[in-house]
């Protein structure tokens, strides 16, 4: 267990650093993929193989792939110029202040036990399914609506409109 946890943490953080650090956007997406593998591993360690599988299927198989497509449609292979110093400093300050505040709060928590106390069957996929269709049925329906909306929206927004060459469309140029 311990090895799995350490591996998950290392994978995740390394991937994350690559994802935000790489100047080439393709590398960044690749970093995201590694990071998500680590997260999936962490889910496994935390006792939910089902969620880990979903993470791999939807996140790595869906979102990351979609991002790769988006990159290919736009700025593939292009090295972006380095960010301005001021911006990176602001970002670092923001992240660090947040980190400091978070650590202070987490360490202020009372000590917790280190192993699950609940019986195994509560973790089972059946229980998840029961809860989804019983307690969270409304949310479940709402989520399907969200996905429908996303499909409609993505198609509507991305569909090439004749008007994009509207003479006034470039109004902002100056």
């Amino acid at each position: 267990m311990m090895i799995g946890a350490v591996l998950a943490i290392v994978l995740t953080l390394a991937g994350a650093i690559l994802a935000v650090g790489a100047r080439n956007i393709v590398h960044a997406v690749f970093g995201l993929g590694i990071c998500l593998c680590g997260v999936a591993l962490a889910f496994l360690v935390l006792g939910s193989p089902f969620v880990a599988a979903m993470e791999v299927l939807i996140y790595i198989g869906g979102i990351t792939v979609a991002m790769v497509f988006a990159v290919m449609l736009s700025t593939v292979g292009r090295e972006e110029p380095r960010e301005g110093m001021a911006k990176r400093v602001l970002a670092a300050i923001g992240a660090l202040v947040f980190f400091g505040a978070g650590v202070a709060i987490i360490l202020g928590m009372p000590e917790q036990i280190t192993a699950p106390v609940t019986p195994e069957e509560a973790w089972s996929v059946e229980q998840i399914g029961r809860d989804l269709l019983n307690r969270f049925n409304l949310v479940f329906e709402a989520l399907s609506l969200v996905l429908l909306l996303a499909i409609i929206g993505a198609i509507t927004i991305a569909s090439r409109s004749d008007e994009s060459h509207d003479p006034t469309a470039g109004e902002g140029d100056s």
């Binding site: 311990m2 993470e55 980190f99 996905l147």
Partner: protein, 101 residues
């Protein structure tokens, strides 16, 4: 591994994501940062679920929903980013400064 360690781990991931959101120029890179933030929250939820929750199914369901919502969000965001690319032939966020004041 204690719950504290897991939560600090999640926080670290969250802050890396936050840095990416604020620092990167590329719109897709910003979106990647946001995905990292969402995953950090997921790890948090599952860790808490693992250590304290009386009903372990609930935490897993939350994470499942987060994944689903993230997928939808990414789809919409990517199509909007492509729209930006079509207009400006670039997805550099520093070009998005025409609306201001």
């Amino acid at each position: 591994m204690t719950l504290h360690a897991w939560m600090v781990f999640a926080l670290t991931l969250f802050c890396i994501g936050l840095y990416g959101v604020i620092a990167r120029r590329n719109l897709i890179a910003i979106l990647i940062g946001i995905e990292l933030m969402l995953n950090a929250a997921s790890i948090n939820v599952l860790a808490i679920n693992y250590f304290v929750s009386p009903e372990p199914a609930v935490g897993q369901i939350i994470v499942l929903f987060i994944i689903g919502l993230a997928a939808a969000e990414a789809a919409i965001a990517l199509s909007i980013i492509l729209g930006v690319y079509r207009q400006r032939a670039s997805i550099d966020v520093t070009l998005l400064e025409e609306l201001r004041g």
